[in-house]
Structure formats: structure tokens, C-alpha cells
Symmetry: C2
Subunit: 539 residues, 2 copies
Amino acid sequence: MPFRQSNQKTEEDMFRHYRANNVLKGLAATPYDLTKEENLSEARIEKYCAQAGDFKLLFATERVNDDVLFALKELAHEAHLIEKMEAMQRGDVINKIIGYESENRRVLHTAMRDLFMHQNPAEAASEAAKAAKKECDKLKNFLNKVDGKGTFTDIIQIGIGGSDLGPRALYIALKAYQKPDRNAHFISNVDPDDAVRVLKRVDLKKTLVVVVSKSGTTLETLTNEEFVRSKYKEAGLKPEMHFIAVTGEGSPMDNPDKYLASFYIWDYIGGRYSATSMVGGVTLSFALGFDEYMNILKGAHEMDRLALEKDFSRNLPLISAMLGIWNRNFLHYTTLAVLPYSQALLRFPAHLQQCDMESNGKRIDKLGNSVDFDTGPILWGEPGTNGQHSFYQCIHQGTNIVPIEFIGFRENQYSEDINVKGTTSQEKLLANLFAQAIALATGQKNDNPNKVFPGNRPSSILLAKKLDPYTMGALLAYYEHKIAFQGFCWNINSFDQEGVQLGKVLANKILDHIGARRQGKKPDKFPQAEAMLRHLDSL
Amino acid sequence: MPFRQSNQKTEEDMFRHYRANNVLKGLAATPYDLTKEENLSEARIEKYCAQAGDFKLLFATERVNDDVLFALKELAHEAHLIEKMEAMQRGDVINKIIGYESENRRVLHTAMRDLFMHQNPAEAASEAAKAAKKECDKLKNFLNKVDGKGTFTDIIQIGIGGSDLGPRALYIALKAYQKPDRNAHFISNVDPDDAVRVLKRVDLKKTLVVVVSKSGTTLETLTNEEFVRSKYKEAGLKPEMHFIAVTGEGSPMDNPDKYLASFYIWDYIGGRYSATSMVGGVTLSFALGFDEYMNILKGAHEMDRLALEKDFSRNLPLISAMLGIWNRNFLHYTTLAVLPYSQALLRFPAHLQQCDMESNGKRIDKLGNSVDFDTGPILWGEPGTNGQHSFYQCIHQGTNIVPIEFIGFRENQYSEDINVKGTTSQEKLLANLFAQAIALATGQKNDNPNKVFPGNRPSSILLAKKLDPYTMGALLAYYEHKIAFQGFCWNINSFDQEGVQLGKVLANKILDHIGARRQGKKPDKFPQAEAMLRHLDSL
């Protein structure tokens, strides 16, 4: 075991040592009362709003006042959040635990979209951007060939976790921008029914298959790849004329004989931050066209630059991060609901669930100390207005308070709408969003206890004009940076995922056990698994 | 305001007054330590299992011992949970708040499937079952005619909340049992893009549209109905030859001139408990065939009877309910994750999120008193193994403990599978499920603090043989009854949803405001909404 390195600077960086922390603790004793007559005023809603890029963040319905906002800004300053964002974007090795064996990697998903104006001059960032550009160029050429032949109408992405959730959420979000006669499908689960279902929907002859695994060793992905390859062979087709690899250079999957094309990713791209690398690039470009994919990257890039903005009032992901810290560490709420009022964002909360919970669901800080405060919340959500007819009962009148991040757009994606009873559906959608934020904040008194709404249930509203590829890219990066800022503030490592290892090790042990059982042996290595398997057998 | 009625019996029924409650509080001070060597033994896993019907519930990985289980059983007894379930199933008026204006309704979703052996003899239940049978017969005849003509290949269900989530979850779960060339689609959100997307996928000529609203007044549903009707008219088709109504008798939608067929639901069927009424029946029967729909009802009916079982060790939904009470009220966990190891159950957690959170997200008891304990948790979840590559980091190493209900099946739905490295995909799926339950429970010690897993993170595992229509029906009812038992135990009304009213009222106020703005008026009735709308305008 390596010796712990002394590192005075980092000690000072510890969350509980910040002075603003004490101020905020004091302020949290009497948080702003949104239920009091006139306290959620027109003037407050007017004022508690930040605008930057194409976004507005409304936070009048959070339980904050000027003192809290000032202290949160101070906390961001004390914790050097902008400097840490700069360090990340220039390619410092920030994915590490000091004094212990850890990944020791750069974190450069921002370089994947640093392809436009004002490029980051730092060497590591610049090299990574160059490498990303090369893959984009390769992809563009590849797609031109595919388009020229006109053979392929469908693409299946085989990947899991970060190689699935982000690309899938973006594909669903941007279906309105899809090229005609182009469809994407996703296989992720090792449940064999997942692959069977998808394969029923496609004509293999006309289908590309992109297999995504950075390590080239992901159990689910390799199993599903073999399954789909076997179907190609059964159909008398050559898999190597259909399969594309997205993997790390030198991984077991980096094998040109097996793939029509290969695209690279690197160890500085975490799976959950990889939607704007080739992990998302191949499928999104195929389905939406290369230019729309570039628009996603442009939007993300603009948000990357906004995250470096030193003026707190313009740095939207930073404000959102600090409001989250207030709700999590000072008002002590366990969960966070992200509720987009846009059906297109149906699976965006599932992506954010990974991005946030895998990044910040940690219990030690970057020095290896157990933290004595709460880190990443449990993030969940469904689109509105659907959720209003589902779990909103609980968020209005349940016994636990759920902070909410609403997301809304001024315009819908398709140009079609209908006017019923004097308003359009899009207006109804937005009226409901605003109504919920106000209702949760102000609550309602009533003589009938069942009609009482306690109120003081905090929310923020992120608004943009329209969910197009550019805005989607920016929205994706907005959350990536919000999450990174919170991790920086807690001084945890948001970029590893040691917590997924133990389950993998035990699953492999059980698979060995099952293998031995199958060969008629009576294995005794894993008695707990044996007991569970016996229960299964007796069904 | 009505006077509070004195009701000694009900007072005694209050959660905090149960004697077992004090015992459990004491036991919760030192819950069973699953991390201790040998504490999660083969014998424990063997023993802590309940079997009934086609299900097994494994709970060795919960933090319980014999004392806790005994006290939970006592609590169930003291709280008269079986008697309350009997009262529900026989049709007592249990949807009420005593002494205040409330819905005052029976709760008879169980009658919807009480069509087979051993029917409930109680008059109200029997009448409801007769009425349900009549609708089923109407549906069967209607489908025979549809089948005979061979005109229709697709069905669109327009509904929201309970008229959407349950039927949708079941349809997705049972796609493997779908009739050839039959597809179902769902429109729920008032977001106009939701309807546009679905309409792009179907040929209106060959499509039925079932509109579902008990009241016949649901904003989203009526708006979407008008939108889809307008598309039929534009295409020169007669909506009344395609549209089907599922609604309450005498509702504004109960109008034979507008619909090809109408099916009834009643005020004793809550939306979130309506999947086995005509709300789910029309679409599921069209897509799967009437016989498979009957199999869903049969499975649900078997579980309804199991929920009346007085032998605690065989009443699976009751055991699950009490384990949930232990985790919620004595170990004080805020959320509950339902993690099915079956891709087919992709949207089942979203259905349960509604069913649980809308039923039990309450803050007053049935006497109108504010509760001083926690009621329904925040329920969320995604299928495994997908989640393992997403939020499992947080559930293993995050700072909040998340109780988990795993669901697994011995066999997959399709007969296809692949053997890679000596095991099938289905075996890999189950090995991962068991590995996760064990890893969460036992944790792991390590010199590297980042590789430490604290363990003692509780879970249960529900196992069945195969997710077929019968098992799906039983699984649906299992959760319905688990939720009802918990509501009975807390003495809250699980069957109303007053908490959704305020948002509706404010949304309508904002819509009036938008309407006035549109006519060039400067409305001043809702200044907060005006400020939000101005922010939107400036985007």
C-alpha cells in the first residue's frame, strides 16, 4: 500500500473547511419562505434569472435569497471551481485519488468538440482535439461512401452504460431532425430478449452495426456482438461488411479484419461523457447527417466555453451546481428530479441518472478520506406533463421534499400544433410547467387537510428556444459541467467508477460456478450463489 | 367545514399507536449486520424465502432477523392488514377521509379480474365483476368483428397517467406475445410533438384509436384526441369509423355518434389501478389477442387471492409491504429502486412510480391528521444489467442507502439465446442479479479507500419462471397489493390524488392569462405567470 502523500493545498480544498460553508449552514436554519404572501413576487421572478447563450435559468422558486446566493458564489470562489474547470478543459490529470492507486487520467471530453473557434491552446487539450478532428474527418468520409452506395437504412448500436444512454437519449431527442429513411436501434442489455427484439425490426442486409466498448472487453457488449454476428452469418451475410468498431487503440476490438471501419476513443473520455465522441458520433451522424452532428458539437462547445465564464451571473452550469449544493448539503434533500416538459427528452433523465450518479455517487474525497457530508443525489425524472398524472402527488404532498429542475422550450420541434379552447398545445405545455413551479413553491392553505399543499418545495426552470441539435448539445454539456462543478466543490473524483467493480467480480465468480454446475460438478466455492441458484431451479 | 367525527376504532388504527411499532424501533437500533463474516450464509438464503403461486421472494439480503420478521408480522396483524384487504376486495367504501369532503368511493380493481373460479360473493364486488364481464364480452365481440374484417393493423391509445403507464408498460413487457402484424402506439403528452411522432409511424386507414379518460375531461387527452381527429378528417377518413372510447358512463365522451365502440369504466377503478380494466383491455387485447389478455387477468386474479392469504409466510405482497415499512419507517430510507433484470420490463418501474407515489405520497391520515412518520418512498428504477453501467456506482458507494427490489426470471421470453464462454446470456443476466444483491449486502474491505464497499445495503429478489401474460398480470397485482398494504398500515387513503389539483387549477389560470395576452389585453391577474412568460418571450 502506497504512503499517503502530504498535500497541503488539497487539504485546504476540503469541502467542510470552506468558510462560506459555515455561512450557508447558518442561513439554512431559516431558508427563504416561498409560501408567505408576496414572497414569490413578480419582481423576484424577474430578478432571479440568469441568461447566457441561448438559455435562461429561472431560480425564483428556489429557497434562496441574496445572502444565500452571495454565499454560494463565495463558496464557488473559495473552492476554485472555475480554476478546476480550466484545469479539466486544458487536460490536467484530475481523474485520480492522491496517495492511492487510481486511474490517473486526464478528462478531456470537452476536447471532442473543441473543433471550432477559440480553441483551447493547452498542449494536452489541443492534441486531444486534433485526434478528435481526425476521427470526425474519417467519419465524414465513411458516411459519404455509405451515402453514395445508398445500401444502408438502419444502424444498430451495441453498447451499454455510457456507450448507450447518451447516444440513445440524443437520438430520441432529435428524431425530428432525422434523415428520411434512416433509423437507429440500440442493444444494450445482456438479457438475450433485448437483441432478439431489435433484430425483429431490421433488415440485416441494409443494416450497419456499430459496436462500442472503450476497453473492448465489456461482457454485455461482446456477448451481444457475437449474437448479432451469428445472425449475419446465418443470413449468409458477411459481418465484416456491416460491423463498425468504436474502441480504444490497441484494444481487443481494434481489429480491421473484423470491421468495415474503426473509430477511436481514448482513456481521457469517460463513458458517461462520451456522447460527443465517436461513441455517439457514428450513430447520430448516420441518423441525422454529419452536419447536424456538428451542430450538436457546436452547441456543446459553446456551453464548454460558458462554463469557463468568470462572471458567476452568466455561468449557468455553475449557478445550477451551486443551487444543487444548497439543496443537497444545506437543506439536506436526498434526491433530484429532472423534469423536461418535452416528450423528446423522454430518455434524457436516464442519461443524466448515469452521468450524475456515476460521477458523484462517491463516499471518499480525492485524498481518500471518507466524506462526512452528502455527495451526488439520487437523480430521476420523466417528461411533463406526463409526470403530473403520475408521481406529482408525492412531490406536492408526500413526506419528502424533492428539488426539481424543470426544462422547457418556447417552441416545439415539429411545426404542427393545434389550438383547442383558445390556446395551442405548446402553450398548454408551458402553462403547466410554470403552474407546477408556482404551486410547489407557494403551496395552498385550506380547511380540508387533504387540500392543503405545504409549499416551499424548491425548483428551477431552464428555458431555451427550441430543442434543435445545437441546443441539445449545449444542454448535454450544461449538465456535464454542472455535475463536474459539484464534484469539484465536494473535492471528490467525479471521473472514476470503482463502485461498479465488486459486482462484476462476483458475477464472474457466479458464472464460473454455473459453468461448473453445468458440467455436473458440485461446486462449493460460492455457497451463497449456490443457495440462490437452487431457489431458481425449484421454480 | 364539517365537524370531525369521533371514531375510536380508527384512532386505534393509527400507525404510531401500534405496539409492534415500539418493538421495531428498538430493533432498528442494531439492524442485522450483513457485512459480518458468515452472516449472509447459505442457510440464511435458503431460509429467508417465501414461495406462493409461481413466485419466490428472497429476502436474506434485507437487514432483518427473526425478531424483526416476527414484529413485522405482528404489526401486520395489529394493523388489520388482511381485514382491510378483504374490505377492499369486497367493495367497502375505503377511498375516503373521515370527517372531511372526500371521494367516498369503493376500490374495486380486483373485481375487474374476478371472472374465474372462486368469485368474491360480496354484493358490491359481485356486481362490479358482472359489469366487468359484460365489458369483456363486448370487447371480445368487437375484436371478432375487427379480426374478421382484417382492416386494422395498428392501434393508438390516447390517454395519460393511469390511462397510459400501465397499459404501455404491459404492452412493452409482452411484445414477445404480440399477434403478427399488430402494433400498439401511445400518445400521452400535451406536447404536440408526441402526437406528431406517433402519427408519422402509422397508416391512418389501418389504425384504430382508443381514447381513454374516465371523466371524459382530461385536458391532455381531449387535446390529443382533437389533434388526431383533425388528421383523420384531413386524410378524408371518418373518425367515427376508427375511434373507440373508454370512459365513464354519462361522461362527455360517452357519445356513440362519435365512436365506433365505447367501453365503460367506473369510479371505483382508480387510473393507476386500471390496467386490467378496459383502460388496458382494448389495446392489450388488440395487440396480443383476447385470450392472452384473459391470461393477464387470470394471473392478476391469482395474486388477488394470494393477497387475502392469512398465512403471513405465503402472502408475498404482504411480506414485501412489511419489508418496505421496515426500510422506510425504521431504517429511514427515502427512496426505493425497482430493478427488473428483464429488458421487457423497461417501463414497468415508470408504472410503479405512478402506482406507488400517487397512492402513498400522502401527508395526512384517514382522519385528516398530519402524519408524523414517512409515507410512500420515491420509487425509481431501470432494468439490469443496464443500470449496473449507470447508477449502481451510487447505490454501492454513494452517501445515501437505496433499498432495492430486484425482479428476475428463470427463462427469457424468446427461445433464442447464445452461449459465450460457457454460459448463456440468460445465465449471465441472473448471475449479475445475484452478484449485485450479495455485493450490496456484504460489501468489501480494502486498503485502498476507493475500493471499499460499505455493504449493508438492503435488497430483496422476486423470482418467477418466465415473464408471460399470466405472470405479468400476477406481478402487476403483486405491486398493487404491496402498495395497498402499506397504505393500510400507515392508515392513509391510497386511492385519491388531491395533490394533483392545485397544479391543474393554476395551469388553467395561466392559460386564461395567455388567452387574454393573445387578444392583445394586458392581463394583470397572475403577475408571477406574467413574469415567467416575459422571460420566455425574450428568448
